[in-house]
């Protein structure tokens, strides 16, 4: 347990305190109590920058279950630190913003608890070296994102968006787990560091392409890449602070982080490089193209986020070539630097833009572009911030977006100079896709500024617009200031954060000494590309009414959303049909399924493998055993013949107590005690169940019914006896009881081995059993209560 482990878990620990504070403190906005948490974390992380900049890395291990390789290894290099600072830094700003955005009437306790859980999860994703822990935190981010999207859960669209994001990201996460398992099979380790060290094993394995695809599915779903991006626009139903935080600055970048982190592992694979490059560029193009037709401010920003993520993804794809080819290394290194730089820039300008969208929504009551217009004089500060950040997004100097976008274009031009085996003829497509995507980015950025703040003022906003309070403005002002500062002095970042992060992605120790400059000379193609983007973009925007009709060709039934909706409906229908076919509602049918399967399974196993049974070392059967067996047989016969429930239950109890006696005879006092206690409680339970049972019917069951029962019960009995005998006859492994006997006192300071096994040696089993027990109790409670309340409803209907 080191300070950094504590820093990761601090938000979750604080969440407990926040939940308690929420209950008792009503006067102060809860956000003020939350604000110090990310602030403290970001301050701590800043203190690590100097050592990280000197190529130092931190590696701390916390053993969870060392035997199976599940350890909480924290590994901090430039890449992890960059993301961690983004998470806690933007987190602090978002909390500050949410204080102004969410009123005290909202369920603030839920909101901040979810947000803090997310913070821990996200920090865990970017700082753990163990992929099992990474997966755990990864899914935790999906869960907290789901909860936050559904924060206004009374709105149907919120629930729809939450479910969509959950289904898609969980699908990807699960696929990713499969990829991780394959990686573990190949390298026999869960540590990313050790995987990088054993990269030759991964290169040699035939399973690698599958692992590549599976891991990338995880990254693509999380980072909303084509065709999985459809969840992100619907996730905009979340409160705006959440959109700014999770769905633009941090969580959707987890996929980028994963790709960056696994670049040293997979970069040799052409499949990896091409998938990332092509999917990234397609996403960039498609999403920026679709952003223009959106009417909702947040929808524009959502599509814009998707396209920017695609941009960074394609840069990482180019960067992976640096590791694999070695040729033209300089260029590909630039791509990685551009990717890291753009991750920072995107977090600043897009975070600010989302906050601005929230301000507009808050102050005018609408996010529709049609209703907004001419707000420049009414909201001057908001206007300035939008101008700065949107121009940065469009790639206009001197803002930071210009610098990274130029690096991006440069990398795309240089890709045609590289020689690859596959797809070599298509090289020219990459710069074209990049430029077209950038043109559309320019168009919607201008649309955002022009449509909201210029033009004639429309008077159909639900609220009278006015400038937002200082509390709402503070966070976006800080981010806009960063946009300008990073744009003018990019080199304050390059040495301290960008270089270490890029080195982490490339997996090298050699310093990069990046210098980011604004001017590269007239013979630089990226400069002319930027000029072309601005010119064509302006023309397209001015004549937008004459080409917007092309969106009409994209019919509703051909969209991915339509596909998703239909898929959901049909899978629900299909599973309902399948369930209806099996679930008859008769307990006896389910018993027949379960035991029938067991019998068939047992017979098939016996048939294929045989059951070698020896009767060599059996103990003598004593007179007391005979007596007990006799009791059991007589009780059984009575149960079968009697027509009274009471007699059946008493006889069942007799069998149970005889079993307890058996345990006592075989010198297993713990088992005997437990059996006695269980028998007592279950017999009572049966007795109280009496009241609920229907009157026993007089009619005789059919012969067929009885015959099936007979077959199944005899089959189960025979199989159990055979398996028991076979298990006793064949000892494949040495018994581990000797280990327990030897160590019961030394390791666990106990005298009763059974109990020591239960609470210590195999305590994990007990923990899970206890959980099952508790869940079963709560489940029965819910069922009984549901039944009662349904009865009440029926009564009301009848009355």
């Amino acid at each position: 347990m080191t300070l950094i482990h504590f820093a990761i878990f601090l938000p979750v620990i604080a969440a407990i305190a926040i939940a308690i504070i929420y209950r008792y403190v009503k006067d102060v906005h809860l956000g003020w109590f939350v604000l110090p948490i990310p602030a403290v974390i970001v301050a701590y992380l800043f203190s690590l920058i100097p050592s990280i900049a000197n190529n130092q890395v931190f590696h701390h291990t916390l053993n969870l279950m060392p035997r199976i390789g599940l350890n909480f290894d924290v590994y901090i290099d430039g890449l992890g630190l960059l993301f961690a600072i983004l998470i806690s830094g933007i987190g602090a700003l978002v909390v500050l913003y949410s204080i102004g955005y969410l009123s005290k009437d909202e369920k603030l306790g839920n909101f901040y608890v979810y947000l803090l859980i997310f913070m821990t999860a996200m920090l865990g994703v970017v700082l753990s070296d163990n992929i099992l822990m990474l997966y755990f935190f990864w899914e935790l981010t999906s869960i907290s994102s789901f909860l936050l999207i559904a924060f206004w859960f009374t709105k149907e669209k919120s629930v729809y968006g939450a479910q969509k994001s959950m289904l898609i990201t969980f699908f990807g996460g699960f696929m990713m787990l499969g990829g991780f398992v394959i990686l573990h099979l190949i390298t026999d380790t869960f540590s990313i560091r050790e995987m990088i060290a054993n990269v030759d094993l991964i290169m040699a394995s035939p399973l690698t392409p599958l692992a590549v695809v599976l891991v990338l599915l995880g990254a693509f779903t999380k980072s909303a890449q084509f065709p999985f991006y459809i969840w992100l626009p619907d996730a905009m139903e979340a409160p705006t602070p959440v959109s700014a935080y999770l769905h633009s600055a941090t969580m959707v970048k987890a996929g980028l982080y994963l790709v960056a982190r696994f670049t040293p592992v997979f970069a040799f694979s052409e499949l990896w490089v091409w998938l990332i490059l092509v999917i990234g560029l397609v996403t960039l193009f498609w999403a920026s193209f679709n952003a223009i037709k959106q009417d909702d401010l947040k929808a524009i920003l959502a599509y814009s986020t998707v396209s920017q993520l695609g941009l960074i993804m394609s840069l990482l794809g180019v960067g992976a070539l640096a590791v694999s080819t070695g040729a033209n290394e300089q260029i590909f290194t630039i791509a990685v630097v551009a990717a890291v730089f753009h991750i920072i820039n995107h977090a600043t300008f897009k975070g600010a833009l989302f906050m601005v969208a929230g301000i507009l929504d808050h102050e005018t009551g609408t996010r529709s572009m049609k209703k907004l217009g001419g707000l420049m004089t009414l909201m001057p500060i908001t206007f300035t911030m939008t101008l700065v950040t949107a121009l940065s997004m469009a790639g206009i100097p001197p803002f930071n977006g210009f610098l990274s976008k130029e690096l991006f274009l440069e990398a795309m031009f240089e890709i045609s100079n590289a020689n690859f085996s596959a797809l070599a003829d298509w090289n020219v497509l990459f710069p074209i896709l990049a430029i077209v995507g950038s043109i559309f980015t320019f168009v919607y950025s201008i649309k955002l500024i022009h449509g909201v703040f210029f033009g004639k003022r429309t008077h159909d906003t639900p609220k009278e617009p006015h400038e937002a309070p200082k509390l709402l403005l503070a966070s976006p002002i800080i981010l806009s200031a960063l946009v300008i500062i990073f744009g003018l002095f990019p080199n304050i970042l390059s040495g301290s954060i960008i270089d270490p992060a890029a080195m982490g992605i490339l997996g090298t120790d050699t310093a990069l000494n990046t210098e980011i400059s604004h001017w590269h000379g007239f013979n630089n193609p990226a400069l002319w590309a930027t000029v072309a983007i601005v010119v064509i973009g302006t023309v397209l925007y001015l004549f937008r009414s004459s080409w917007m009709f092309i969106y009409d060709y994209h019919k509703e039934q051909f969209t991915l959303n339509h596909l998703y909706d239909q898929g959901l409906i049909y899978s629900q229908l299909g599973s309902a049909k399948a369930t209806d076919g099996i679930m008859s509602g008769f307990l006896r049918d389910y018993m027949v399924y379960i035991f029938g399967f067991f019998v068939v399974f047992g017979i098939v196993t016996t048939f294929y493998t045989g059951l070698p049974i020896t009767f060599d070392d059996f103990a003598q059967v004593g007179i007391q055993d005979m007596a007990l067996v006799l009791i059991i047989l007589v009780s059984l016969a009575i149960i079968m013949m009697t027509r009274s429930r009471m007699v059946s239950i008493i006889m069942l109890g007799a069998i149970g107590f005889s079993m307890a006696l058996f345990f006592a005879f075989f010198r297993a006092p713990d088992l005997a005690l437990t059996q006695l206690a269980i028998e007592t409680v279950t017999t009572t339970l049966f007795l109280v169940c009496f009241y609920h049972l229907p009157k026993r019917s007089k009619h005789e069951e059919s012969i067929k019914f009885k015959f099936t029962n007979f077959i199944v019960s005899v089959g189960v009995g025979a199989i159990v006896i055979l398996f028991g005998l076979a298990a006793y006859s064949n000892r494949l492994f040495d018994s581990i009881s000797q280990y327990h006997i030897d160590n019961v006192y030394d390791l666990a300071a106990g005298g009763n081995m059974v109990n020591v096994i239960l609470v210590d040696f195999r305590g994990y089993d007990t923990l899970m059993e206890t959980l099952v027990f508790g869940i079963a109790g709560i489940g029965i409670y819910a069922l009984m209560k549901a039944k009662v309340s349904r009865k009440d409803d029926d009564n009301e209907e009848h009355a």
Binding site: L64, M65, Y691, H692, N752, T770, L771, F773
Partner: protein
């Protein structure tokens, strides 16, 4: 006794007032069983017993009372919230193995030590006991919840 029940005004209780013998003996036996369950729980680390059996026995002690009296009366005698018992038990069972991190050991590596208490002499302290309390509470709470639920809805 009688006055308390009369004041409560349960017709059912009045009907059951005839069961004087079972009601009296069950109260005595209840205490014996409960003490025995505590004994089983505490002795579990060295002799047969433990949290699971202890919990079940404690539950059966209360079930005995439930048979002699009705649910509302028992609720008045022992005002315990079974939901709280389950939650507390589960929380203990999960928190204790997790907090062992503070000893710098992997998950679920119990720690123990011996201290000298003036009268009792050397006493063992073991984190497994707290975990077992969790098991005890969950098992007892769940059994009681189920029995009272199934039995308590008869109206």
């Amino acid at each position: 006794m009688k006055s308390t029940l009369k004041r409560a005004g349960y017709s059912k209780v009045q009907r059951q007032m005839n069961d004087v013998f079972i009601q009296f003996t069950s109260k005595v036996i209840f205490l014996i069983i409960l003490l025995f369950s505590v004994n089983l729980f505490m002795a579990g680390h060295y002799t047969p017993g433990g949290g699971f059996v202890g919990g079940l026995l404690a539950a059966s002690a209360i079930i005995l009372l439930l048979m002699a009296y009705d649910y509302e009366t028992v609720k008045k005698m022992i005002p315990v919230n079974f939901h709280l018992m389950i939650s507390l038990g589960l929380a203990l069972a999960i928190v204790v193995p997790t907090l062992l991190f503070f000893f710098g050991v992997p998950f679920f590596t119990h720690q123990h030590t011996y201290v000298n208490v003036p009268v009792f002499g050397e006493v063992a302290l073991h984190t497994a006991v707290i975990f077992d309390v969790g098991v005890f509470l969950t098992v007892a709470g769940t059994s009681l919840l189920i029995v009272t639920l199934v039995g308590g809805t008869e109206k």
